[in-house]
C-alpha cells in the first residue's frame, strides 16, 4: 500500500479508496460474506412448510437439551416465547448448538445453513410470539452515527468497550468483541438479551436508536483508525506493553549497536 502510493504518486481520493478496500478485506470480510448470504436466503418464516422443516431440524438437533417441543429441560432453557430473533442469533453465530459447556456459549462457525437457521427460527416463532428477525432497513446502517455512539457508550460500552473490543465479565464470562458482528446479529442480541446480556427492548432503545447504534458500529468496523494500527483497541494496557516491548526494545537494540566497537 505504502509502496504503491509512492510509486504512482497518486493523490488522496484513490488512496482513500484503496485503504477502505484494504480495511474491508481485513475487518469487513466476514461481514460481507454474511450479508451476502442473508440476502440470498429469502425464506418465508410464516409458511407451514418452513415451520414443519424447522420442527424436524429442531427435534433432531436441539430437543436433547431444549425438550421435544422446546419446553426446556434441566440441560437447557425453554424456548417458548424467545422469538425468531433469538434463534437466528444463537444458531446464526454458531453459539448453538452448544459444543461443550463452559462459562458461556462461544462463537463457532455456524452449524446450519441460512435456510435451516431460518426454518428453526420459524418453528420457534410459531410456538409463541417473541422478537422477530429485524427488517433489513434497521440493520444496514444509514442512521445517525453520533446518536448511536452516545447510546452505545451509555448502554453497551461498559461491557463491550467503547471501540467494541469486548471485555471481561464475572467468573470467566466475557462480553464478545463487536468488530466483526453483522448488523442483524447486533440487533437481535439487543432485543433478546442472549446469555447474560440484559434485554434492550424497543421502549428502552427504540428501533431507530438501535439502527443508529448499528450505524455507529459499522462506522467503527469500516473506518480505519486515523492514527494508524490500533493495537486491538484495548487501550492503555496494549499501549504500555507496546512501548516497553517494541519501543524500548528497539531502542535498547540500537544502544547495543551504538556502543559496539566497529569492525
Amino acid at each position: 500500500m505504502k509502496r504503491q502510493m509512492r510509486r504512482t504518486g497518486r493523490r488522496h481520493p484513490l488512496a482513500t479508496v484503496a485503504l477502505l478496500a484494504l480495511g474491508l478485506t481485513f475487518t469487513g470480510g466476514a461481514y460481507a460474506a454474511f450479508s451476502a448470504s442473508t440476502a440470498q436466503a429469502n425464506v418465508d418464516l410464516t409458511s407451514a412448510a418452513t415451520v414443519e422443516e424447522g420442527k424436524k431440524l429442531f427435534q433432531a438437533n436441539c430437543a436433547t437439551c431444549h425438550g421435544l417441543s422446546a419446553e426446556g429441560t434441566a440441560a437447557g432453557p425453554s424456548l417458548i416465547g424467545v422469538g425468531a430473533a433469538s434463534v437466528d442469533f444463537q444458531v446464526g453465530t454458531g453459539r448453538m448448538p452448544l459444543q461443550m459447556s463452559g462459562p458461556q456459549a462461544e462463537v463457532k462457525p455456524p452449524q446450519f445453513t441460512d435456510e435451516q437457521t431460518k426454518a428453526l427460527a420459524a418453528y420457534v416463532a410459531s410456538l409463541a410470539p417473541g422478537p422477530a428477525i429485524p427488517a433489513a432497513d434497521l440493520v444496514e446502517g444509514g442512521g445517525d452515527a453520533a446518536n448511536g455512539a452516545e447510546l452505545f457508550r451509555i448502554n453497551c460500552a461498559m461491557c463491550h468497550n467503547v471501540a467494541g473490543a469486548g471485555g471481561a465479565l464475572t467468573e470467566g464470562k466475557f462480553a464478545p468483541e463487536l468488530t466483526s458482528v453483522t448488523g442483524t446479529h447486533i440487533y437481535e442480541a439487543m432485543v433478546t438479551g442472549p446469555q447474560n446480556m440484559p434485554v434492550f427492548n424497543d421502549l428502552n432503545i427504540t428501533p431507530e436508536d438501535k439502527r443508529d447504534i448499528i450505524t455507529y458500529l459499522k462506522y467503527v468496523q469500516d473506518t480505519p483508525s486515523p492514527g494508524g494500527y490500533e493495537l486491538g483497541a484495548l487501550g492503555p494496557v496494549a499501549e504500555g506493553l507496546f512501548i516497553w516491548i517494541f519501543g524500548l526494545g528497539l531502542i535498547v537494540g540500537i544502544t547495543v549497536w551504538i556502543t559496539a566497537k566497529s569492525n
Binding site: 477502505l20 451509555i154 462480553a175 421502549l203 494508524g228
Partner: protein, 356 residues
Amino acid sequence: MATDEHSGIMPAGASSHAAHEAGDPGTAVVIDRGFENPGFPPHRPRVTDEDPTRDRRAQRTVYTLFYLSILGSVWAIAAYILFPMESGDPGEIRLNNLFIGLGSALALFGIGFGAVHWAKALMQDIEIADERHPVGGSDETKAVAAKVFADADRESGFSRRSVIRNSLIGALVAFPLPAIVLFRDLAPQDVVPEELLSHTLWKKGTRLALDPSGAPIKASDVTLGSAFHVIPEGLQDLEHGKLEEKAKAAVLLMRLNPDELHEAEDRKNWSYNGIVAYSKICTHVGCPVALYEQHTHHLLCPCHQSQFDVTKHCEVIFGPAKRPLPQLPIAVDSEGYLIAQSDFHEPVGPSFWERS
C-alpha cells in the same frame, strides 16, 4: 582506621591495608587479592583504519544517510500538502498522519544513524583515561571553604547573635504561610462537602428518565431481564452543574423475577414488581457500575472488579468495595410512570470520612 566511632561497630577481620585510594572505607573490609591490573588491552584497528576502500565506503554511507534525511524532510512537507484532510474522512487523516510521520522519521533517522556511523567508523578510535579526584575536593579546597564559612560567620555574627538568627528563621518560616492560605479558595467558600455529597437530585415524585434522552419510563416498559440507564427527569434541563448532579444521580434500573429478589423487610416496598433501582456509582472509588448480568444478577465494576449481587440489595460479593450500592426507593405514579419515593437514604459514591 576501620572503627565507626558513633556506632561502636567494627569489622570482623580487621584489615591491615592502608586507606583505599577511593577514600576511607568506613567499616568495610578491603582485601588485596594479589592480582595486578593488567592495563589496557592492545588497540585493535578497525577495517576503516586499515582499508581505504572501506573508509571511502563508510564515508559514502554517512553522507548518503544525511542526504536521505533531507529527502525525508522534503517528503514530510510534501505530504503535508499532498494529504490535506479536506473531507475530514478518517482514511485521509490516516494517510496524512502516516506520510508526515514517515517523512519525519526518515529525516530524523538519517541524521541519527549518519552521525553515529560517522563516530563509529570514521572518527579516530581513541579511548582516554580521566583521573578521578575525591568528590569532596582536595584538603586545601576544603580548608579554604571552611575558612570562608568561619569568616562569614564571624563577620556576620550568625552564630553569636542568636536572637537575630532565630527571629530571622521564624520570619522565613512564617512568610510563605499567607501564600498557602491564599489557595483556600481553590474550593468554593460557602459549601460543606458532607452536605453536598449527601444529597442528589432525586426527591419524592421525581420521574425516572432515560439517559441521555430524558424521556420518562413507564413500569410496563421495563420487561424482564432489562437494564435501563436512568437519570432523574429534569436533569438534562439544568443550566449549571449537570455533570455534577449526574455524577451522583445516575441509576441503573433492572427488572428481575420478583421470586429471585431477597428483600429485607424494611425495603419490601422499595421495588415495584421486581423492578429495582440502584445507584450506578461504585461505593469503592466512584466508577459507574453498570455491567449487569441478567442471569447471575451480578453487577460488575469495570474499573476495579467489585461485584454486587442485585438479588441481595447489591451487597458486595467480590472486589475491593465494602458497602452495597445504595438503593433508590421507587413507586409508580397515576400515569404508570416510575417515580422515586425519596432521595437515596445514604450518600452515594465513594466513602468519605464524615459519611457515617
